[in-house]
Symmetry: C2
Subunit: 192 residues, 2 copies
Amino acid sequence: MNDLDSLIRLFSHLPGFGARSARRVVLNLVKNKEKKFSPLIESMKKVYETVDTCPVCGNFDTVSPCSICSDPRRDKQQICVVQDVADLWAIERSGAFRGHYHVLGGLLSAIDRIGPEDLRLDLLHDRIIDNQVQELILALPTTVEGQTTALYIENELKGITHITGLAQGIPFGGELDYLDNDTIFMAISSRK
Amino acid sequence: MNDLDSLIRLFSHLPGFGARSARRVVLNLVKNKEKKFSPLIESMKKVYETVDTCPVCGNFDTVSPCSICSDPRRDKQQICVVQDVADLWAIERSGAFRGHYHVLGGLLSAIDRIGPEDLRLDLLHDRIIDNQVQELILALPTTVEGQTTALYIENELKGITHITGLAQGIPFGGELDYLDNDTIFMAISSRK
């Protein structure tokens, strides 16, 4: 296998890629060597060398602790618990939250043999105590695993801080006709 | 903008990518630093340093002339003309052709101001003479530009070699109900 084929193969193993899209991207890079290929390699090298998991919250960043944990303007007494770094980034983009985060790195799952000890929960406990956290927001998915994990955290930590969860209902711009039954059921039951 | 954001931005400018898929790929790389990120960077560097346009046919390869042009088992007296390297790779994957290629790098287009002098046609003429090419297969798209280009090449070169085109009809596994009218019209008119 030549170098071009191995590069296409590596790309095709990334999420959202197949053989066809990998070839398309590699061809595009080769056609734009100076404008796209070279800057992409440089940027990847830089990120590869500097990116790391924040020892405090579990976010990925090129500085440690991450830029959120080290921002003095953010409220240390609010912690939002998320499953994954992708969820943290999504909440950051919304601009609705100015506290700190805690990335679990997974959810409790009997099938995948993920127990509480795998989810950085000791660290969360210590952070709550050390920073006198007033509110812990559980921003976990509304799946069985997500809700099991939320329930577990609630039971473990309800004595030491106030625990809240995300509001559930109809998404912004959501048309009733296109929403699933469970969402509509939930939105009607929790009407206010 | 931090390094992670600039990397996501670079990815989002690649074909088939948007902001969401770029974030997803970057997160996946960061989560698999040794297994995916590092090998991808190494492979990209290698390709970046060695890949080039084949001076004979216009293919991309890490050797020059490309591995197709330098393969002595391939028939030098057949040349297949394609618009783009992606088309060359597609024909190679089919395994149906064992001759040589000629990549035009575009199609005649009045709107995009692409004239015959932009399409490596002088080179094609010389290759036909030098190698006593017996057959020139025009594998160009069935668009207005593709057919205009095919017609132009036919008029220019029909005196010095035999010119053929790809068969047109129903694709393999194609169900009539799902095919567009033009394809069905073509397939019926060209029945054999």
